[in-house]
């Protein structure tokens, strides 16, 4: 059984508006964490990636953070 935030909380869809959730998958610089760190499945990782990119475009998350 994979041990990651999405599975633990039984989250099926990743929404770009859930900033607090997405923030757990980005590092202090604003980059998306690797699958090694997130422990997500490939499908989940893709969903998170898409959501983070949408959130960035809508200025809900930063592209870069110094």
């Amino acid at each position: 059984m994979s041990n990651n935030i999405l599975t633990q909380n039984d989250i099926q869809h990743v929404d770009y508006k859930d900033i607090d959730l997405l923030k757990q998958f980005i590092n202090p610089h604003g980059r998306v964490m690797s699958r090694k760190k997130t422990n997500l499945t490939a499908k989940q990782q893709r969903a998170v990636e898409a959501a983070v990119k949408r959130a960035r475009f809508m200025a809900l998350l930063p592209y870069i953070q110094k």
């Binding site: 099926q12 869809h13 770009y16 508006k17 959730l21 990119k53 200025a59």
Partner: protein, 171 residues
């Protein structure tokens, strides 16, 4: 917005009549007055209705701080927005309707940015379990009861006691 164009176009080959679920996220300029926000939203809604779409869910616009400033034009001036009214809409429509809607949103001057993409009918917002509170051993426990007892056991003068007793017996 190239991403959106592709997202819509890739399903363009066949089944033009099939209804699909889309979501719009939009930022309304912070300089708009409170009463005009509702007008802007209803303009978007009527546009969707005109295209034959039906609504599934909606998030009312609320003031949000932006992660970076978005540039917009107000007349001839350029304005840097570090906050905006962010709202969203989920609806069902045909591919052509979504395309037409995207064009109309592009022309909408009061929106400083928007996103249109395909999604699913179900509620996609994550329902996180309530974070478990860590058990912390408190060292500063307030002991209320003993202090009150102390107060009551304060020495009372004989005169006061006698007076009180007399008052009770007199009744």
């Amino acid at each position: 917005m190239a991403e959106n164009d592709v997202a819509i176009a890739e399903n363009d080959t066949e089944n033009v009549d099939i209804l699909r679920v889309y979501e719009i996220g939009y930022h309304i300029s912070p300089s708009t007055k409170e009463e005009d926000i509702e007008k802007t939203v209803s303009a978007i809604r009527s546009e969707i209705e005109k295209q034959g779409g039906s609504f599934i869910a909606e998030g009312a616009p609320s003031m949000a701080r932006l992660a970076y400033s978005i540039e917009s034009r107000e007349g001839t001036k350029r304005v840097e927005n570090d906050r905006s009214y962010f709202g969203w809409l989920k609806f069902e429509a045909k591919i052509d309707a979504a395309k037409a809607l995207e064009e109309s949103l592009k022309a909408n001057k009061s929106l400083i940015r928007f996103i249109l993409f395909r999604t699913v009918r179900e509620d996609t917002r994550a329902k996180m379990k309530a974070p478990q509170l860590r058990e912390v051993k408190r060292t500063d426990v307030i002991k209320a009861a003993p202090r009150r007892a102390e107060e009551s056991s304060e020495p009372v003068s004989e005169v006061d006691l006698d007076k009180a007793l007399q008052d009770i017996t007199a009744e």
